[in-house]
Symmetry: C2
Subunit: 722 residues, 2 copies
């Protein structure tokens, strides 16, 4: 049995059922395995529920839509239980008790319901599901019915719901459902991208009972004597043409093989695989069970979204837990989710970086289209690697459309990706990856910046105009301190990487440099840019000016604007927000997080914090964890802990009010960073050695985490005493 | 400023506003001071809200009702804020942020709302209230409006709502409202009990602005420039003819005097008084902030309900936080709330015991009416001290009425009261109270039992037929092991008390014994009953049989009946539940709690626990805390902690689904007992000396609590190490 402390720190429970949080709980109770994500929708279905089944890489650009969507696949969940002919539903009869529990340790979702029919029969229904980590094509379900009072006749019906859309947008064509024996097969293809899709569901009942195959479902009917229990195992396999030419055949083979193994065997293997995940990724906090559970919850959601066996897909901003941002991949992956994986699951981190490597062509296309050289990564990316940020919003209520500038001007994404590559390389020492793949990303994005930087001859400096930094309230600004600083850092790193290649892997290095046309002249220009790029700053205080003219904006005292959940951008209106010194998220503070002590002296860091912390709106879910990280490093533990707990509960408590659209994956990864890089103070020093500068919240008794460093798994344990 | 750890352990917050929990939050955000209780209803009013203002002792038996009600008094809360003519309401305009916080340390409720009008003006509204602990007739409110965006015209309207009922039942007559200047006076009387009531509200605005006196309200209208703030202080006094003949005059005098002092002065005095309360009643838990906060929350609700200056009132089962159980007083007070007060606030405990003393006549009346001698306390008690348990329920949907037997047969209440008196005496050493008042309660209830016990000549034993023990699923049973055991204990204590009186206070003792007609013969009979009263028990295991025939009932395995929130009594139906071995609450386990090691050997205690724990339904909110206490004593720490946390969160998380009716006060007191008597293992040994047998939950770093022992305040601090 699970121990009480494990119950409190590994289980996320809902009890009683709260119909008003239907969409919130659907999101947080998502199960997944790096291939698929299945929202926590109920088997019997509810009005307005958002059943969503997603698989990495299956995008489709429907006619009339602005950009591609990740495709909502046929829903394998539906199971209906009838008790003496009365269909179980939590709005009929009487629910005598309800508990839904996500077991983070085992990555399994269980719902227990005590239900009394209108005629007075009482049954206990237990619904279990997990997305197998050992066979990532399998969603495994079990539905158990126990007669507690009365001996009813039970009918169980199971189907695969092919009548699915993305909130009304139809992506599937050629839908076909067939039923044979206890097996249901649904096939389809996406109507633009032409991915073939197959979902096959097979069933097995724990007692002898004839299966009835109907048009689109299978059913069993049997008598259930009081105090007896019957279980239905339903195993669904999802395959697409991304896995092979015959997804239907593969799905059938997989379900049949799995059915032979049975629920318990599959679950045991799944749990063993999760034990491996947690062995390296679990952060253990003693003295703060709420923080402990929240950190496990956020870690879980990154892990279930991280592709295990596929290096041509990446994690969207909302993971596979909802349709928000249409499954698109942003900088969230590289700067928020990847660090946790780099340190604790380097193989998964490598997959994600390889996604960018394989999509260099899209980045090169974007650079060409914009008149630049090298690789300019898209702000939003899908299966094609092309820029998929919409240029315009859908029409507003007043008929106008809003121009979306991020795809044009939020160019720091290219440097963010280079940062992630270099971070991975430093932590893992994976030279093979770097030489073959990583260096090309770092260097070709440097080529882009070399072609992008604007020389201001009058002032003998380089500048970048029309940028959007992390603070998206201020668009198309000149000389974003964040972007310019990161570009300087990027070019320095690119030059160092070039030297390293030529020193340690001369042949491969020279070939790569030749292929990317990285000449001596180009390198000289990089040096010049790095030396002369303009970074606006108050010379007296050392406070960076977020961009040209920022210090002249109207300053709003946010002190009295609490408690605020609505974004200031919305309250003030976008036009006015642009003219106001209120920022969406960590921008200069993000720079402090990324650069660490390279940012400046402790005094300069404190001055920048003091200036920017009071004006940040946290309008992005990415912001609080970054602030927590930096506050911890600066020793501001009260702020750090408050921000950390806010970040850790964004999804659990739906603090932004939009969890229905999916998990805030960057916040999840950010929570790990706040603990590891902030409170624990983990970093690599100049020689690449592990370094710890702890700043623990005073009530934490201990923190234990694991980190791979150059292939060695290290255990770092800090206690309150030391 | 309040420290972060204090924020997490002293503040109970709601954010965002959850309209579906309106009644739950109204209850948990009740403020009070031992004289009045005011539910956390919003100043601007919402459809279906349950504004409730209660004062101890004001009951009324409306025509057509079965029993008296505590009377819902005129509501002093209403304040309406209009911004440019638009009335603030959280369903109009847009709420940009909402946070409601009950500060347990300061016993004050604050609501902060950022609100945007439909025209785009943004204001911050802050609503504060507290029920003054230094002048218990005062409810003090402050409403602050700050213009954040725009410079609106503000109108503030304030009234006292006299249009109040108890869920439709009208208790008030002769209602009269008058307004003079900034003062509103509402007077009324109860239509059966004829209590006179006055509520006077006075106002003061932080800026110069003419007050407009209208028919039933006062209002102010003024311009509010951006970034300015204006505050309205509203002070309401409640007096009744229980305080004097001229409640209206007293209320006016009180509000005028208070208005002169002003909000800050009143609040500072209030906070200082609460500091005194917490100095002795606060239990400090390190290593478990959730438990820490929950214990403070439950302690708060007992403290705000405990009468400070009135010994003719007591605390109803739902305190003054809701209309559940009509304000009636049950055994909940003596066995669940009183122990905490006896140990940490003995003056308050004495007030509650004096309520029973002053109502001995009602208990004597009940004994006579039932053909017994002495004092037989009512199962439900109000201002009169007479039995006020209804004999019948209101008609059910099918027209039938249910006979309610508790008023007839739940006779253990008399012994529960005697237990509380003796416990108070032992802890405080307050001989004066005991000689003058307490002994009379203990002895005259013993007289009742002496007349009540039935002699079975055939078996030469005493029996008690037609009883209801704590487990109310089984009514009118014979030889309730709980009741019979407690009667034996009671008679033994009465004999000892008699001897003590004759030894130490001969004159007073003889007078009392003579007055109560406690003769040598009567005492001999008590001895005989105590020696021969029948207590059903399995002779092999030592397991008590809850009552005659209990072991023969149908045994239901409750293992599979989880998660269950509905009571088994409801699920099975009352008739079947009577025939089933499922119990409502701690019954034998309650006996174990009360008798401690007198119950039996450790093995016998464990056997009884093992038998009864699996069949308890916790259908009463009194049950989990008692189980937690006993489990802790038995060293069953995992169960103990789980049960403790359940008890501690019954109201905070509305685990029983009925917090709308009021706080579960017994559960609140029970939580303190679980910590003090269970985990800390505090008790008095045979010589009356303090004894500690700790059984702390393993993750608790320390527990600190204070206890008055014979007038000395002791600090008990346990750490995980010792």
């Amino acid at each position: 049995m699970i121990s009480p402390v494990d119950q409190r720190t590994w289980l996320v429970s809902e009890s009683p059922f709260n119909p008003f949080k239907l969409h919130h709980t659907e999101t947080i109770f998502t199960v997944g395995n790096g291939f698929m994500g299945v929202r926590g929708t109920f088997e019997e279905g509810y009005s307005g529920d958002l059943a969503t089944t997603l698989a990495h890489g299956i995008f489709n650009h429907a006619e009339g839509d602005l950009v591609p969507d990740i495709v909502n696949l046929p829903n394998p969940l539906p199971v209906q239980v009838l008790v003496d002919g009365e269909a179980f539903h939590m709005t009929t009869g009487k629910v005598l008790g309800f508990r839904r529990t996500l077991d983070l340790k085992r990555a399994a979702l269980t719902r227990e319901v005590l239900w009394r029919t209108s005629k007075g029969v009482v049954v206990k229904l237990t619904f279990e599901r997990f997305a197998s980590l050992t066979n990532e094509h399998l969603l495994v379900q079990r539905v158990r019915v126990r007669a507690l009072l009365g001996s009813p006749q039970i009918t169980i019906r199971s189907s695969v719901d092919a009548n699915v859309t993305n909130l009304g947008v139809q992506h599937l064509a050629d839908l076909h459902t067939s039923v044979s024996g206890a097996e249901i097969l649904v096939t389809a293809r996406t109507n633009q991208s032409n991915y073939g899709i197959a979902v096959c569901a097979a069933h097995s009942l724990s007692i002898e009972s004839a299966v009835q195959s109907e048009a689109e479902r299978v059913s069993y009917t049997f008598a259930l004597p009081q105090e007896n229990e019957v279980g239905l195992t339903k195993i669904s396999a999802i395959y697409t043409t991304r896995q092979g030419d015959q997804p239907a055949h593969m799905a059938q083979e997989a379900t049949r093989a799995a059915l032979k193994k049975g629920y318990e065997t599959l679950f045991a293997a799944h749990c063993a695989a999760w034990e491996q995940y947690w062995h390296t990724s679990d952060v253990q906090i003693e003295g703060d069970e709420l923080a402990q559970r929240a950190v496990r919850f956020t870690t879980y959601h990154v892990l279930i979204a991280a592709p295990r066996h596929d290096e041509r897909v990446s994690i969207g901003a909302k993971t596979l837990s909802g349709l928000g941002y249409k499954g698109h991949v942003f900088w969230d992956t590289e700067l928020f989710m990847l660090p946790m994986l780099t340190v604790t699951q380097p193989k998964l981190a490598r997959n994600l970086l390889m996604y960018r490597y394989h999509n260099l062509q899209g980045a090169r296309n974007k650079a060409r289209a914009n008149g630049y050289e090298g690789a300019m990564f898209p702000w939003e990316s899908t299966d094609t690697g092309e820029e998929t940020t919409p240029q315009w919003s859908h029409p507003q209520p007043d008929g106008t459309r809003i121009r979306i500038w991020t795809g044009d001007n939020e160019q720091h994404i290219s440097t963010d990706i280079a940062y992630a590559v270099l971070q991975y390389w430093q932590w893992t020492g994976d030279d093979e990856f770097f030489v073959k793949h990583g260096a090309e990303i770092v260097l070709d994005t440097a080529v882009f910046w070399g072609s992008r930087a604007e020389y201001n001859a009058e002032r003998d400096r380089y500048e970048l105009s029309m940028q959007i930094g992390p603070d998206e309230y201020h668009e198309n600004v000149n000389n974003s301190a964040f972007t310019n600083s990161m570009v300087r850092w990027h070019l320095q790193q690119a030059l160092a990487a070039r030297n390293w290649l030529l020193t340690h892997h001369r042949e491969a290095g020279e070939a790569l440099l030749a292929r990317l046309n990285i000449t001596e002249e180009r390198c000289a220009k990089w040096s010049d840019i790095a030396a002369k790029i303009y970074i606006p700053r108050d010379p007296e205080t050392g406070v960076l000016e977020q961009f040209d003219g920022f210090f002249q904006l109207e300053r709003l005292d946010l002190t009295h604007w609490q408690p605020r959940v609505t974004n200031m951008d919305w309250i003030l209106g976008h036009e006015r927000a642009q003219r106001t010194m209120v920022i969406k998220q960590a921008d200069i503070v993000m720079l402090m997080a990324l650069l660490g002590d390279q940012f400046g002296s402790p005094e300069v860091q404190q001055s920048n914090w003091d200036f920017y912390y009071p004006i940040v709106d946290h309008g992005s879910s990415l912001s609080p964890s970054t602030h927590a990280w930096v506050a911890a490093r600066l020793g501001l533990l009260e702020d750090a802990y408050k921000l950390f707990m806010y970040a850790a509960n964004i999804d659990l408590e739906d603090l932004k009010g939009n969890v229905r659209d999916g998990i805030h994956a960057a916040a999840c990864g950010g929570v790990w960073q706040a603990v590891a890089f902030g409170f624990v103070g983990l970093s690599l020093d100049e020689r690449g050695e592990l370094q710890i500068k702890p700043n623990l919240p005073p009530h934490w008794r201990s923190v234990t985490l694991r980190a791979y460093h150059r292939g060695q798994l290290k255990t770092i344990r800090l206690t309150a005493e030391n």
